[in-house]
């Protein structure tokens, strides 16, 4: 499904001075067809330090509307940090983030969630004691307008609002085929299903941009195939732009439109799966090479 593109060189960040003129016509030329929408999110020259440790160094890339964008790299490459920067959990010391055409001020994660960025976590972060339904319902939180008192009393507009939200949530449950665990506490569910519930909660926020942190980690082949189909279906049915981190190269190459490759906090490759696959630096860094 990945559209073959001609002559698009992978932009290397090693020559850090190269201009990043993303708006120019010449950048669109050479992008795969599905990645020619307007830029949804752009990170420019991001550097993130924890004390003396540089987690991310001068990284720039963009995510375009409607595409599936993968971020890959070996352990410790800075992938999750990158997601946490986008999601507002970490604040980079240097660089800019542009979201929907405006430069983003430092924000709290919940403010960013309200803006339309939802995510899932590498280590599942669900409310274990709550049912699938209630967990997904929490994803609607940013869309709730009535206050806690009205909700507690089930009064006035609260009732109508809850019904409206429940309907949205039921559609997600139907979409993810988890009707049979609707009332089951998520702590009792197998891992693969918990991952699906987490995806459901992220979808409940009706995000413009969905961040998935290793959605397929720890799954067996069948669960991976299911998850791939759900990701593709979310992208197709809801038109949601997706950025995902994934270790399984087969999955990444199959479902993503463009791939960013990180290594030791630097960007070493960016392009279509085919381009990335044939990039020497990427092969060396990610797939391993003997240094002799």
């Amino acid at each position: 499904m990945s559209a073959q593109t001609k002559g698009a060189a992978i932009r290397m960040v090693h020559d850090a001075d190269a201009p990043h003129d993303f708006t120019a016509e010449n950048v669109l030329h050479g992008l795969p067809e599905r990645s020619r929408g307007p830029v949804v999110l752009e990170v420019k020259n991001i550097t993130l330090r924890f004390g003396g440790v540089v987690a991310i160094k001068d990284i720039s890339f963009d995510i375009r509307k409607g595409e599936i964008r993968a971020i890959i790299g070996p352990n410790g490459a800075g992938k999750s940090s990158m997601l946490n920067v986008i999601n507002g959990f970490y604040h980079p010391q240097e660089g800019e983030i542009w979201f929907n055409g405006a430069r983003r001020k430092p924000m709290k994660p919940y403010e960013i969630a309200k803006q339309g960025i939802a995510r899932t976590f590498q280590n599942i972060a669900l409310f274990k004691g709550m049912s699938t339904l209630d967990n997904i319902m929490t994803g609607r939180l940013t869309k709730m307008h009535t206050n806690i008192f009205m909700q507690a009393l089930w009064a006035g507009p609260a009732q109508a609002e809850e019904i409206e939200h429940r309907e949205k949530v039921e559609k997600i449950i139907d979409f993810l085929e988890i009707q049979h665990i609707r009332k089951t506490p998520v702590g009792r569910l197998p891992y693969g299903l918990q991952k699906r519930v987490e995806l459901g909660r992220a979808l409940a926020a009706e995000p413009d941009l969905l961040l998935l942190d290793e959605p397929m980690a720890g799954m067996n082949v069948e669960e991976k195939e299911d998850m791939c189909r759900f990701i593709l279906d979310v992208n197709e049915e809801f038109g949601t732009t997706i950025a995902l981190i994934e270790h399984d190269m087969g999955v990444v190459m199959d479902i993503s439109d463009r791939v960013v490759v990180l290594d030791y906090g630097r960007k070493i490759g960016d392009g279509t799966p085919d381009e990335v696959r044939s990039n020497k630096d990427v092969i060396d860094a990610y797939l391993g090479v003997s240094h002799d």
Binding site: E167, E170, E177, Q179, H180, R229, E236, E237
Partner: protein
Amino acid sequence: MTGHPASSAADTFPKLLERNAGQFSERVASREKEFGIWQSWTWAQVHAEVKSIAAGLKQLGLKPEDRVAIVGANRPHFYWSIISIQMCGAVPVPIYADSAAEEMSFVFDHCGARFAIVEDQEQVDKLLQVASEIPALEHIIYLDPRGLRNYDHTAMHDLADVQELGRKHWSDVEGEIARTIAAQKGSDTCVMLYTSGTTGRPKGVVLSNDNILVTARSASEFEKLTEREETLAYLPLAWVGDFIFSMGQAYTCGFCVSCPESTDTVLEDLREIGPTYYFAPPRVFENLLTTVTIRMEDAGPTKRWLFRTFIDHAKRVGEDILDGRSVGFLDRIKYSLGEMFIYGPLKNVLGLSRVRVAYTAGEAIGPELFRFYRSIGLNLKQLYGQTEASVFITIQPDGEVYADTVGVPSPGVELRIAENGEVLYRSPGVFQEYYKNTDSTADTKTPEGWVHTGDAGFIDPKTGHLRIIDRAKDVGKLADGSMFAPKYVENKLKFFANIKEAVVFGEGRDFATAFINIDLNAVGNWAERNNIAYTSYQELAGHPQVYAQILSHVNEVNRSVAQDPMLSGCQIKRFLVLHKELDADDGELTRTMKVRRRIVDEKYADLIAALFEGKSEIYTETEVTYEDGRKGKIKANLQIADAQTFPRAQASDQQAA
């Protein structure tokens, strides 16, 4: 209901629908759970939906006599489509949704379907995969558009769009459809159902309107079903039983059929619907009981004691109370206490509180299992039937229910036992023919209308009920000439919760041997309880303690087989526990989970040889097919165990001499 003037004229489904839309217009006819809520359609609404589908199909070019394949789970739209297809004079052909692409290609090619109405992307993909082999197929109509947006839509349509098209053009085709419906007769083809077939290719059984409707009517009268019944349609659409229960009887009686939310929610949906009329194969009853047993083992001592006490009491008097025989006053009081504290709540949890009539069929049911459900007050009865008979051959009448028989001929059925022991029947439900297969038709159906069931059986002299021993062609002889009925022994083995499947060999041999499949649920749970670690099915199956358990079961079966003078030669002398589950994907079982003996014989020839040769261990490699169609190999070293055999009941003297 039967006295209604319209009912005599209603000899087809479209006519019945018209009658019901008038007579029961505001009663609920179909129900489906979607988005967590039960959505309902009244008979009048169903009528409108069916008409729109019919008109849409006509607009797409559906012609009389065309075949339309239907592939999917139990959804109201599929049931409606069946009637829409009939309204156009075409023939519906429901197909098992879990068929692999090749199986599907065979059936599509054989019936020559021009249209297919399918559920979702999965089914569409399967059809596209074999599209080149089924050139007759012109249009695919799907219910669930998900994932199909970017497919080529020149020959593919969303059912909702088809219905929209139909509504727009209803007036153009109204007259034609009305004429078609009026011209249809009871003797016209109603439906074509492919039998799963334990041997060879599936055969297309052609059933007429009379076959289905006459049978459905008389069976409903036998059980006094009315328009107030509630049922849940959860068994495959392509299975004749579902066609009779969810279409034939639902339309003739006018009761409501509910469809589950998904295949995984059936138990929950069952509890919410509370059916009054229920069918389940023995497998389902067994799973239910296993779940209950496992949960009870986890319960506190008081609850366990209560459960034990009252279940034991029910075993003693429950069946007598159900059948209306005399039971002592104190026992009755104790039983009603049990009903209040144990049986009632238990039935409620299982969704069986309101069941008036429950059937089980398809396989023999374990006497223990059967009696358990009956003793807690569930009117569970056995049924013997076939696709070729429009289901009903025999039913157990209320009050005359025995675990080892299948009952008396159902209304309108004549029964005969051939000289070789095969059961033959003749009834209004007898099928027209096997589609495009005159040879098989002639083999199965005599010119006088008698149908060979292929089952060997006899009329039990004590009760006058039919008893089935085995498939007639499987009944053979051991080397010493004594009767060999593998199924008879297999069923006895399978009644143990630990044994999921068994295959017995012995035709023309000196003694009988068996393959055993363990039940992963039951054995796995036992292993967990006893801290026995295992990493795979294979390892668990080969565990010495599992072997010891299975051995004790086999010995017990041998003891009981030895008591039957006719079949005592069938005692299992040697057996092994298979390293993999027999699977329909590997062709070892049919889609309805029956063993295909010939395939098993070929595939495991090395193991069978080892059983008879007297080896104590054998190395084997087996090819397996994964759900996505890829193939792999399993290697294993299998132990062969010797079981204890018991002296024959009668023929033993002769043997000793």
